[in-house]
Each structure stands twice: as structure tokens, then as C-alpha cells.
Amino acid sequence: MSAKIRWTGAVLGVLGLAMILVLHWMVFFWVPTERTMGVVQRIFYIHVPSAWVAFMAFGIVAVCSAIYLWLKDERLDMAAQSAAEGGILFTSIVLLTGPLWGRVAWGTWWTWEPRLTLTLLLWFIYVGYFLVRASTENPQRGKRFAAVVGIVGALDIPLIHLSVVWFRSLHPAPVVMKPEGPSLDPRMLATLFVGLGASTLIFLSFFLFRYGLERMRQASAHREMAPRETPAPEGAAQ
């Protein structure tokens, strides 16, 4: 792993961990309790940043995949794969924290609400991405197949989003990104932004380390494939 990747990854990781600690202090001791939902609303500061990272990661997967198919640069495929691994991790966090909150706030673990459905489908698209990669004997082929899954998934996600929203909407409406400005308490907003920063940094650190690891793996595979320098047998001419 090149020193640059290692150092950047480590710095981002340490910063991200520090922010996670600050976030937890804010979530547990500082931010005011939401009036109607009560204490369970605090999971929001983990849940929403994870969702943001999950979708951002999928954006990276799609962009890197598309350019990979175009330029055939191995590094882009490694970046797409690393982003996908981070992405499925954060998608899993969203899918685990959501029901914990939903059980208290909505009275049910699961409901066919658009954003829930979309996130679950995103998780399955990531699963397909890894299955395709794992089930091909020819690694070059697996990379191309995975890129195709990533691109088609990214093209389809807006359509899935439109259709599931059109079907039914129950999820709390957005409280930050709306035309008349955020309606959150400023302290809640600050906590949310710390959460967004922390999860983005943690993701980028994972991403860099994973990418560096993949490059090392590639380099060692090349080394094994390269012909060994064997000493010339005794008595051989020259």
C-alpha cells in the first residue's frame, strides 16, 4: 500500500472516529429530546448519515464502473469495488437502525414505505453486484459484469424511487433539505451535521484502506505471475 494512501486513510479514520465519539456525546447528553417521538428519535443521527453514505457510495460505484468500462483502468474497478463494500455496510446500518426506531415511532418493525423499500432494494442491488463478481471464474469478466450491474442499478434507482413514492408515502417528510429551510432545532441540526461528517470520514477511510489493499493484492498477483529469475543450471552454455 502506498504511503500516501495509508496516511490519508489513517488521518481520515482517526478524524472520523473522533467525530463519532463527539457525535455520541452530542446524541446522548447534548441534543434536546424530540417532543413527540421521545428519546428514540436520537437514532436519527446515526440513521440519516448512514443513508447518505449508502447512496453516495452507490454513486461512486456507478461513476467508477462507467469510466472503468470506457477506459479499462484496473484502478477504477478497485475503487468501485471498495465503494460498494463500504456502501453495503452502511446500507445494512440503515436497515438495522430504521426498524428499531420504527417499532417505537410507527408501532411496526417494517412497513412498505418508499424510502424503506428503496433502501432494501439498494441493498439487494449491492448483493447482486458482489454475487456476479464472485461467481465468475474469469476475473476480467467478473469486473465487467459487476460494472454493468452497478450502472444499470444506478439508472434504475430514480425510477424505483419514483414508483415507490407514487405507490405510498408514510415516512417522515424531509426536515433538512426543503425550500423554506431546515425546521430542526439548531442543536439537532448541528448533531446531524456532525453525524454526516463522521460517517463520511469513516466511509472514506474504509474506502481508501480497502482500495490500497486491493492494489497490494493486484501487485502481488502480478509478481507471482512474472517469470522467476532462476539461476542458470550448472554446465549450461553461458
Binding site: 456476479v132 450502472i151 444499470v152 434504475d156 425510477l159 424505483i160 419514483l162
Partner: protein, 225 residues
Amino acid sequence: MDYLRQVNAIIWKDLVVELRTRERVAAMGGFTVLVGILFNYAIDPTVVEPQAIAAGLIWMTIIFGGMLGLGRTFSLEEEEGAFQGILLSPIPRDAIFVGKVAANFIILTVVTALVFAVFALFFGLTFGGHPVALAGVVLLGILGFVALGTLFSAVSTRTSMGDTLLPILVFPLLIPVIIYGVTATATLFEGRPVAEVDGNIRMLGAFSAVALFAGAGLFRFVVEE
């Protein structure tokens, strides 16, 4: 003109192969009739009125039956090594894809007609009074399904998991077809005005267009060696 001739050649080849072997139509047709029989025992008609869930039943039968045939789009050629020959021919990759989609579309249209006939016969369903709009909804829906399924069938055929991988890749992406297709079909079955499904038809059209163009553009990366 040349492009159309090339697409036609692929369609013709696939349909002739299908006519001679009748492998996929037989599998899908048999599946359809058997699912009708199974539904009859799985759904208690004294509790659920079949007409009330007809749209959902029909669409799920089309999708599951269609997966059987779509999964085998390339398998015959792959087993016999014939696909190399097609790739060596001067036909551009996207024309091969469009031809494959069109042939699958024709085959699945036949199967869909059979699904409607079987469900009408077994469950005494009525399909509302708008045959043209209904045909439009169903055909646009299966076009999108076939385009997506053909692309991923080319992927799954070349993996060690084979056909078993296909539903995992296709089903998550198919949600828009199911949502817009089933709601529009249900609306038309109830005999409500066609204007109510305008939006659905547009969205199904958009989905099919995206699936077709994405498939035609990406197909060459799937088959290249």
C-alpha cells in the same frame, strides 16, 4: 436499413430455433397452466375473490414464467459454442441485443396471451372493457422486463451460478414494472376510464426505453472476451 436487416436476422434465427425445439415456449406454457392449477388450491375463493387479485396473479405468473425462458436466452448458444459465431459475424453488438430482445418479446407475448386465457378459463375472470389500453400496458411492461432480463441473462449464463443468479439481479430492478403494471392492469380490470392509467403507461414507456438503451449500450461489455 442494414441495421434492420441484421436485427431481423437475429430475430428470425431465434424464432426458427424456438419453433424447431419449442423448448422455451413449452416450459413457460406448461409452467403457466400449472401455476393456474396451484393458485386454485392455494387461494381459497370463499375468502378471496379471484377477480380482486387478478392483476397481481397475472403479473406474477408472467414474471415467474418469463424468467424461465429469459434465463435460457443464451444457454443453447453457449453450450454449443455457437455464440462465438454470432460475435464473429459483422453484426454490431447492439443489433444482436435488440434482436434477442425482440425475439424474446415475441415469445413472451405468446406466453402472456396464454396466461390471460388460462386465468380467464380457470377463474372466470373478466378483463374490463378496454382491450387496447390493456394490451398497451401489458406489452410495454413486458418489453421493459424482457430488455432487462435479456441483458442479465447474458450475464448470468456466463457465471458459475447460471440461471439461479438471474432473479436476484432482475427482481430488485423490476419494481417499477410491477408497481405501474399491476396498478394499471387492476384499474382497467375494474372498467375504469383509460385516462386514469395515462401516467402508468408513460412510466412503463420510460422504463422500457431506459432498459432498452442501457442494455443496447452495455451488451458489448457483457459479451466481449
